[in-house]
Symmetry: C2
Subunit: 150 residues, 2 copies
């Protein structure tokens, strides 16, 4: 059909392997973003109230409590939290580290959006979605922008 080679790719179609790699990365990020959201939220709740209860997590995430219970088991299995039956959860050292990393990244993204003139409410929502797809290089670019802004 095509004569040996595509006749000048006039569209936005890039190299197939590159394309694939981007999507693979995105799928991978999707897998980890829920975990990061949980850990970050647990850290915030502990900082604010002294404990992280399932009801509070569920309310803030907008999901049902059994959904939270199931996910907490997964977090525990991955060594990010520690839990005792019928009690609130605690972060392990690994969990606290991940939480801190996530929290800082979230903060940078949200501040960056605000610095662009986006309204705080929208910046909040968008940052929640964007933060998990921001590479270190992009995060640093955001930081640079914020620094130069001041």
């Amino acid at each position: 059909m095509k004569p040996t080679k595509a006749p000048a790719p006039e569209s936005t179609l890039v190299d197939a392997d590159t394309h694939m790699e981007s999507f693979r990365q995105t799928r991978h990020n999707r897998r980890t973003e829920l975990i990061e959201d949980y850990v970050e939220l647990i850290a915030d709740l502990i900082a604010d109230r002294g404990e992280a209860r399932q009801v509070d997590i569920a309310q803030r995430l907008g999901v049902a409590q059994p959904t939270v219970a199931k996910m907490l088991k997964r977090l525990a299995a991955e060594g990010l939290i520690q839990q005792r039956p019928y009690r609130g959860v605690f972060l392990t050292e690994a969990g606290a580290g991940l939480a801190e990393k996530s929290r800082e990244r979230h903060q940078v993204v949200e501040s960056f959006l605000c610095a662009l003139g986006i309204s705080p409410e929208i910046a909040r929502v968008d940052a929640e979605g964007i933060e998990h797809h921001v590479s270190l290089e992009t995060l640093n670019a955001f930081r640079d922008f914020l620094r130069k802004r001041e």
Copy 2:
């Protein structure tokens, strides 16, 4: 435990309803982003090769062909594409509209990241993940930034 009220919320904990709304929005975006990726890719393939075959879609998305076949059924059910057995797919008017919208948004996000000084490869990958979580307001802020840059 806590004395009537939290002792000055020193953390990043925002209003519970706001928090919930952000996560709900993010979950909603997740549901639509795959659809947008497919439609956008199908449009690109048609523009570049004259047709969109499952093997090509699968290769560029980095998934197996049956995965693509299943998703195409969903797209057809939603009226975004038209397909005949053992043949490539076509975009309906609705599908073409969504594809164009997605493509343009993708382009803005990727260009914006590049304008921030991020390397093209990283910008590609990050844009792929970020584009689906960018509200209209944020997209416009990106456009403004690009315009003022020139």
